[in-house]
Symmetry: C2
Subunit: 315 residues, 2 copies
């Protein structure tokens, strides 16, 4: 297992800069007032392809040799990593296959195809996903870019918090949603090297709280097919992300489905930005743990904005 370093992060940032946005950091006086803290929202929903995963995917795709690239890339993903790998592969002009649960939002399937990649459907469980994916790789010889348990991907995601600490001085903590742990691992990689005084929190749905239980138990616990509105956070930790989470995360906080939807609607209403349910989990946990964050300066990663506008969770 190769553990990526700060050198990999710097190399990733130089490699992907032409292909990603340096996303803005937005604030809301109203939400600060509700939280009793100063929140700085790093808006990866405004990232290329609508999610932070454009960073890791671009780093993986543009780091391939021409020989590797000719065979294309492949992945399995409940959504944004698939879209973003398709985006990056499209930018480089190489083939891309994405294995997606048949229950994934139609908007996400359309987005993958819109970037010119091929979608292969599987059942909505980790076991089915991995089986179908193995067939795809065997047939195509494509380079596997795992959604998160991949040093290239984590180094790419790490560029997000690198930008954040350049954009906002004096942060006390950064909080990000946790599913497989790619963004959280990237955040750990950057902050443990460049700003080790900044605490790192992960936020997870109560109904998909395998990372929370892993963190408390001291070893990886994986659930098959949890059910939550935060559809980007259903996947389990793997060895590489577990390394970062157990080494550098201060705590993992959880929120109920209702708290997640309320936080999502609050951000839509007050900040006028579209972000997906997964991205609302950090604010939901901040609002229910006010004592923990009172008066602090908190970076909040808004991870993505790919929502099916015909199926909003409060309707």
């Amino acid at each position: 297992m190769y553990i990526p370093t700060l050198f990999d992060v710097d190399e990733a940032h130089a490699r992907i800069k032409p292909h990603i946005h340096r996303t803005p950091v937005l604030t809301s006086r109203c939400i600060n007032s509700l939280a009793g803290a100063e929140l700085f929202f790093k808006c990866e929903n405004l990232q290329k392809a609508g999610a932070f995963k454009a960073r890791g995917a671009s780093n993986a795709v543009f780091g391939l040799s021409d020989e590797q690239a000719a065979k294309g890339v492949a992945t399995h993903s409940s959504g944004n990593h698939g879209t973003c790998l398709a985006y990056a592969a499209g930018r480089r002009g190489i083939p891309c296959t994405v294995v997606m649960p048949r229950t994934a939002p139609q908007a996400k399937k359309d987005a993958v195809r819109g970037y010119g990649a091929k979608v292969v459907e599987c059942e909505p469980s980790t076991s089915s996903r991995e089986a179908v994916f193995a067939e795809v790789v065997a047939a195509t010889g494509a380079e596997f870019v795992h959604p998160y348990n991949d040093a290239r991907v984590i180094a790419g995601q790490a560029t997000c918090s690198k930008e954040l600490i350049e954009q906002v001085a004096g942060l006390d903590a950064v909080i990000a949603p946790i599913g497989g742990g790619g963004m959280v691992s990237g955040t750990c990689l950057t902050l443990s090297n460049l700003a080790p005084h900044i605490k790192i929190y992960a936020a997870e749905p109560e109904q998909a709280d395998d990372a929370y239980r892993s963190f408390k138990a001291g070893h990886i616990i994986a659930d098959d097919a949890p059910v939550t509105v935060a559809d980007g956070l259903k996947v389990p930790l793997k060895d590489l992300t577990w390394h970062f989470v157990r080494s550098h995360v201060t705590d993992i906080l959880t929120a109920s489905e209702a708290e997640i939807v309320d936080a999502m609607k609050l951000i839509w209403k007050r900040m006028k930005i579209i972000m997906e349910p997964s991205s609302a989990v950090p604010l939901a946990t901040i609002l229910k743990n006010k004592d923990l964050f009172a008066g602090k300066r908190i970076g909040v990663i808004i991870t993505g904005g790919n929502v099916d506008l015909d199926k909003l969770p409060w309707q």
Copy 2:
């Protein structure tokens, strides 16, 4: 009738700067590709109180003498001007009354009250609105800040295109929605003085096309209670806004209800920002008049983001 000048715009900008955002200009490669032009979206949906009208309202409120201010301000508004006047009055700590149609979105009524102002309801017609409003002013002695037919308000709105031409070089045209004409008049005021080579277009719903018909007829035509999803654009031109429209606007373009909703959804989906139906009318007209804008650099004013999230127009 006092016609505001560039001096008033500069004075307004200095006066309101502490109370407004210099809003960002966003772009979308996907939407540019669909339009066949380069579009620069000036995002007043991210403005204080969620609309450009915070500019004009702040200029009016902060320009009052202490003696005038003590009696408060009042207005009638189908939505955003009311919210924004309430916002500005709240910042100055003076009373504010807003007469609103009883059919106005609940979210807009709540927003006015949220800033500490009083809402008085009227019937959803121009005639009822003006009658109820006269009673309010008689009872309170408040200073009337008209939503658009007011030199202070127009000078405030004019600061938007002043920022836009500082933020984007080489624009060929600017397009904004037209209801009463406050934003379009402010745009005319700024551009006719500072960048007279930039063409000014106004965009209007077909179902509330009184400004279009006025422009073609050469005199003001007013409709009572038109019906359109673009609820911010139902009001008629008045003498001051008519002066600017007839003097400086190149053309007024219209779009159907379906075209407006499609353009709104396209912006939500691709740009991940929340804007109201009125703000989608310019893009709707650009997409149906591609020859007119082909290859051009177009500033597009996104006027506001105050939407009732429980009643989206595509549902």
